[in-house]
């Protein structure tokens, strides 16, 4: 299905096209990796809604990216339950081994490092989301092993996130 067809299918779930802006942005982001201005305009055109309605959602919700992110978006939770299980040590380690600060992307565009608010998986704190997957009960050794796996996956990013064919909730 094309992006337009997917968006039209999602919009059929609602009596009002405006409700479909969020699912449409998720579809568009899955397709393009992020949401630059022309993509936002295309979403507005497909749904026949005001452009400002699309812009305001793309900038309000944290899962929408208006700037490019790396192939693997490392999203480390640093809320209370993870903090109590030493997520700060993991952040420091990630910054060191990747050579970037949180909020930045590696020059090879492989990794973007972010801290995020509670991921709702506190039973396995400290936890980090990469693409669609949660990784829990993390320590420095597990982080290193995970980074190695992701680097090996580099050539086959299907499992990684935004390049995957099907996205849930579309």
């Amino acid at each position: 299905m094309t992006m337009r067809e997917k968006i039209k299918e999602a919009a059929a779930r609602y009596p009002d096209q405006r409700s479909a802006i969020m699912p449409a942005l998720l579809i568009a982001q899955r397709q393009h990796g992020y949401l630059p201005g022309p993509v936002l305009e295309e979403v507005a055109d497909i749904l026949g809604v005001e452009r400002i309605w699309v812009y305001e959602l793309a900038t309000f919700y944290t899962l929408f990216h208006t700037e490019p992110v790396g192939m693997f978006h490392l999203q480390l939770c640093d809320n209370v339950s993870c903090m109590l299980r030493r997520s700060e040590d993991l952040l420091r380690h990630l910054e060191e081994v990747l050579g970037i600060r949180k909020g930045e992307t590696t020059p090879d565009r492989l990794f973007t490092l972010s801290t995020v608010e509670c991921l709702g998986a506190c039973e396995m704190a400290p936890v980090m989301q990469v693409g669609d997957a949660y990784h829990g009960d993390l320590d420095i050794a597990r982080i290193d092993a995970l980074l190695d796996r992701l680097r090996a996956e580099k050539g086959h990013p299907a499992g990684a996130g935004h390049a995957a064919a099907a996205s849930p909730g579309e």
Partner: protein, 421 residues
């Protein structure tokens, strides 16, 4: 002996699949109400059970349903709040990932009771596995006739849609969730009108939490008296408790409402980490005021925790031990609320920004005399003056930390450093 019902399938192999759910008696509650109960009888049953909303506020579910007008020319909607963003909370995720049919049956019975033919399940966008499992379960249930038109030979038609969120804690506030479902920025609405009268698309709407909805089929099958027989009569039922933080056995526990916080943490969750003592516990997600160790004999139910100056909230129980700085915990909590403030009202948006600045300088050893009084003044300016409960939760939590751990705050200012680092 307490028998878990809500988590019955959670650790069962293939617990998320329809055959497993059916083998355990699944969809019999739906068959029963469609066969023999009027919608009003289902509402009465839920009223008699004293089921109170598990999302945090503890509002009586049957009463909420009874506010929906009977005769209107608009469609009625059921919305499920699965936005689970309260830090320390993960119960709804585990239900949706491992026993999604339980939620679908809860939705179907509840929709029948209020006269809704469409439900939207608003799931936070990060919960990809939960979304996939629920999508699969909806497809299974539809193919077996538990969803769709003329369900199980009755006149009841019902469709469930998933609406995937995109990262905004405020969507857990029910009117903000409705705004988000309508494709707007998630900012709370002025009430009244209440959603039961004018909610989604200005139609009568009921919003219930995942855990609330999954209680409903069990009440139908086992009866209101069974439910009321578990825990305190005014706040009864089986309850999911999310244990996390500095505790030996973090995880999800199903136990009676009203169990003591001490028993929950020390016996069920194994107590503090080796070599440590518990200093404090947050009993209901970070919106719930912290309870110092000496207060841990409190019962984990809506009324007992309110009487103790805290709240059950989402039952996200976060254990904090003696190696942890309470100023740091308080700072992190207020940073969270500040980040998640939707920006609509000034006391929350600007007040929390100011509070964060003061807390950060205290934690950094740069606090000034008068800072604690300044924090109290800011809490007073926020509490009760905001559009929704986000600002209230932040102010209540900070006030409790200032009352119970004032010595730690003062030590930071007097010693001009964090005593824990």
């Amino acid at each position: 002996m307490f028998e878990p019902v809500l988590l019955k399938n959670v650790d069962v192999r293939d617990g998320h699949l329809l055959p497993t759910y059916e083998a355990g008696g699944g969809y019999q509650a739906l068959a029963k109400v469609l066969r023999q109960d009027t919608p009003d009888e289902v509402i009465d049953l839920v009223k008699q059970s004293n089921l109170r909303g598990r999302g945090g506020a503890g509002f009586p579910t049957g009463m909420k349903w009874s506010f929906v007008p009977k005769r209107v020319d608009k469609p009625k909607y059921l919305c499920c709040n699965a936005d689970e963003g309260e830090p320390g909370t993960f119960k709804d995720r585990i239900i949706m990932e491992r026993d999604p049919h339980q939620l679908i049956e809860g939705l179907a019975v509840s929709a029948y009771a209020i006269g809704a033919e469409i439900a939207y399940v608003y799931i936070r966008g990060e919960y990809v596995t939960a979304i996939r499992r629920l999508e699969q379960a909806i497809a299974e249930a539809s193919s077996k006739g538990y969803l769709g038109t003329r369900i199980l030979g009755s006149d009841f038609n019902f469709t469930v849609h998933i609406h995937r969120g995109a990262g905004a804690y405020i969507c857990g506030e029910e009117t903000a969730m409705l705004e988000s479902l309508e494709g707007k920025r998630a900012q709370p609405r002025l009430k009244p009108p209440f959603p039961a009268v004018a909610g989604l698309y200005a139609s009568p709407t009921v919003i219930n939490n995942v855990e609330t909805l999954v209680c409903v089929p069990h009440i139908v099958v086992r009866g209101a008296d069974w439910f009321r027989g578990i825990g305190p009569d005014r706040s009864p039922g089986p309850k999911l408790y999310c244990l996390s933080g500095q505790v030996r056995k973090p995880g999800l526990y199903e136990l009676p409402m009203g169990i003591s916080l001490r028993e929950l943490v020390e016996e069920h969750a194994g107590g503090p980490l080796p070599g440590h003592k518990i200093k404090a516990v947050i009993p209901g997600g970070v919106s719930a005021p912290v309870i110092p160790e000496r207060g841990m004999d409190v019962g984990m139910d809506f009324d007992s925790l309110a009487a103790a100056g805290s709240m059950l909230g989402s039952a996200g129980v976060i254990v904090i031990d003696d190696a942890t700085c309470m100023v740091k915990v308080a700072t992190r909590i207020i940073e969270f609320f500040h980040h998640e403030s939707c920006g609509k009202c000034t006391p929350c948006r600007e007040g929390l920004n100011w509070v964060v600045k003061v807390l950060r300088r205290i934690e950094a050893g740069e606090g000034a005399p008068g800072d604690l009084e300044q924090l109290e003044k800011l809490c007073k300016g926020i509490f009760g003056n905001t559009f929704c409960a986000l600002g209230d939760g932040a102010a209540m939590g900070l006030r409790a930390a200032l009352v119970h751990f004032r010595d730690e705050f003062s030590a930071h200012i007097e010693e001009r450093r964090c005593p824990f680092h």
